[in-house]
């Protein structure tokens, strides 16, 4: 079966940079797979997303979406296959939640046509899937950070994509909303069969929820595979340059950072 997203031995260097932003990175995501990409700041996570979505062209290697080079997809067609929740977005004009989710139907609309009943049905389904139907008539600017993230995921779902890409979706969310978001994404993978590519800083949540991890360090793949194989004490300490201890919960590794200087008496 063709994977939804495949990166093969990708190399990329920004113009004028002294070293590669990505160096020999490979990745494959199929349906019903939750794939998380981890790494310290500047390790190439965002570059990887840009290459995966065809915004950058790899110097070597290939980036394929659904069997076709990422760069060759017309934007509107690509938006029917891949939904993206970027790190940041603007809200130039005040909008209601339902309106902003309806924007996710753009790739399905013809140039002069109106929104059809099926478009509104897709918006309703997306709102329900994200447990956001009660927010539908709220103004976007009145939402909390956690509610807003759910609405943005709903907009991506309204595109009815096969692959969902999320860039640091848990940033600045509190515990309840961050857990809620990961549960939501996991549910979409298990129940709706989506493939997910998530960029995140949070090793522990990635290990709890994802099927497969890719750990990057300065553009190089350090380890990839199931969480238990990737997040070993030695690997984590090397990549993040900090002493840690590892524990296991539900069969998945969890990392606890250590104090460098033990408190006296401890």
């Amino acid at each position: 079966m063709t994977p939804l997203l495949r990166l093969q031995d990708v190399h990329y260097r920004y113009p004028g940079a002294a070293s590669d932003a990505l160096h020999g990175v490979s990745l494959a995501i199929a349906t019903e797979q939750f794939h998380a990409v981890l790494g310290p700041n500047g390790s190439g996570k965002t570059t990887l997303v840009r290459i995966a979505l065809g915004a950058l062209v790899p110097a070597e290697g290939r980036a394929m979406i659904d069997g076709r080079a990422a760069r060759e997809w017309p934007r509107q067609e690509l938006a029917r296959v891949v939904g993206v929740v970027p790190q940041r977005e603007d809200n130039l004009f005040p909008q209601r939640v339902r309106e902003t989710v309806l924007l996710g139907r753009y790739p399905h609309l013809s140039l002069w046509g109106r929104e059809r009943p099926e478009d509104h049905a897709a918006v309703d389904r997306a709102l329900v899937a994200c447990d956001a139907q009660h927010l539908a008539d709220r103004w976007v600017w009145t939402l909390s950070g956690g509610e807003y993230q759910r609405v943005r995921v709903a907009r991506a779902l309204a595109q009815e994509p096969k692959l969902l890409v999320l860039d640091e979706p848990g940033m600045s969310l509190d515990l309840k909303h961050e857990m809620g978001l990961f549960e939501l994404v996991r549910g979409l993978v298990t129940e709706q069969g989506l493939g997910v590519l998530m960029i995140t800083h949070d090793l522990n949540l990635a290990a709890r929820f994802a099927d497969s991890l890719l750990l990057l360090e300065r553009g190089r793949p350090i380890a990839s595979g199931p969480p238990a194989d990737v997040l070993t004490q030695q690997t984590v300490e090397t990549v993040f340059s900090w002493p840690v201890m590892m524990q296991t919960i539900d069969g998945r590794p969890q990392m606890i950072p250590l104090r460098k200087q033990k408190e006296s008496g401890a």
């Binding site: 979505l53 915004a55 017309p74 934007r75 509107q76 067609e77 690509l78 938006a79 029917r80 891949v82 939904g83 993206v84 970027p86 940041r88 977005e89 603007d90 809200n91 130039l92 004009f93 005040p94 909008q95 309106e99 902003t100 924007l103 996710g104 753009y106 790739p107 609309l109 140039l111 002069w112 600017w141 907009r155 595109q159």
Partner: protein
């Protein structure tokens, strides 16, 4: 309901500008009067068209430069057109079309320069640089214009000064026909970009991920809105505030979906300018105020109220 009100307002505005004028024409003679058919009707239609084009161009440019306070003349076109027109006056170019053609050429020159500046960093059009470049080119052209005006004779100076404040006294069936033939293509281009403009409010990155071809949309919107502004300025001078205030009022009433917003801004701008022009030629009859003075006198207080609402949210 709000569409019905807008259409009624438009019809009333057009009717008023045909019925009222400095020359007394009784209602019974209205349909047979040369003054009405050769002066008032084309002038009312031209005012409506120009106001409509400015309204649509303003709404499109506000979404493009991602600044709700942008005005179609902010992008340097008024400066370029003013320079062209004042040059034509100073050089005593004659013929009924000399002034519009010179103004149009000036506007196109400014458009080209600003567009080139907008592409300065590479192939992607940067709306922020468009805005800054527009202000800079406009200021430069205005400086040259002022230099020429300050060296001109008194009568010429008065003509140039009046032209810069806008006026529709040059209206004829020919100008109406010209605008009516010229405008549909840029208008359709803007209307076709309505949905991508909705997406653009989320930022270029998000709009791209939602399927919009951002670079193409930005170019088309900039060129179409500027071409509309250029023809408006060529036939009627610099009429301010219509392109700023009308899209705002339309946004408050119709929301931010450009499919509804652009037609509403067209009708609203047309109705407003028809009313403003009727006032401009009747309140001090037999003399005439530049219509830009009237739109500014109406527009500035309205705009102040809008700013308050905007800052309150």
């Amino acid at each position: 309901m709000k569409w019905a009100l807008l259409i009624v307002a438009t019809v009333l505005a057009l009717t008023a500008s045909v019925v009222f004028g400095p020359a007394a024409v009784s209602l019974g003679e209205l349909l047979h009067s040369d003054i009405v058919w050769n002066l008032r009707v084309p002038r009312a239609l031209l005012a409506f068209l120009v106001g409509g084009l400015l309204g649509v161009a303003g709404a499109g440019l506000q979404a493009l430069v991602r600044n709700p306070l942008a005005d179609p003349f902010l992008l340097g076109l008024s400066g370029g057109a003013g320079l062209g027109a004042v040059l034509a006056i100073a050089l005593h170019l004659s013929g009924p079309w000399a002034l519009p053609i010179a103004a149009f050429a000036g506007a196109l020159a400014a458009l080209g320069l600003v567009y080139r500046l907008g592409l300065i960093a590479g192939a992607a059009l940067d709306p922020r640089i468009l805005l800054l470049g527009g202000v800079a080119i406009g200021a430069f052209a205005a400086a040259i214009t002022t230099a020429i005006v300050s060296l001109a004779d008194a009568a010429e100076l008065r003509n140039a000064f009046l032209w810069l404040w806008g006026g529709l006294s040059g209206a004829s069936w020919d100008t109406v026909l010209l605008v009516a033939l010229y405008a549909p293509i840029p208008l359709l281009v803007l209307l076709a970009a309505a949905r991508p403009l909705d997406l653009l409010a989320l930022g270029e990155e998000s709009a791209g991920y939602l399927g919009a071809d951002i670079e193409a949309v930005k170019r088309r919107v900039y060129l179409a809105a500027s071409l509309l502004t250029a023809v408006a300025v060529a036939v009627s001078g610099v009429i301010g505030f219509v392109g700023l205030v009308v899209p705002h009022i339309a946004r408050l009433t119709w929301g931010h979906r450009h499919r509804a917003l652009l037609p509403a801004a067209f009708l609203g701008g047309g109705a407003l300018l028809a009313v403003a022009d009727t006032l401009a030629r009747t309140v001090v009859a037999p003399r005439e105020l530049p219509v830009g003075v009237v739109t500014a006198l109406i527009g500035v207080p309205v705009f102040t109220l809008l700013l308050r609402r905007w800052s309150i949210g």
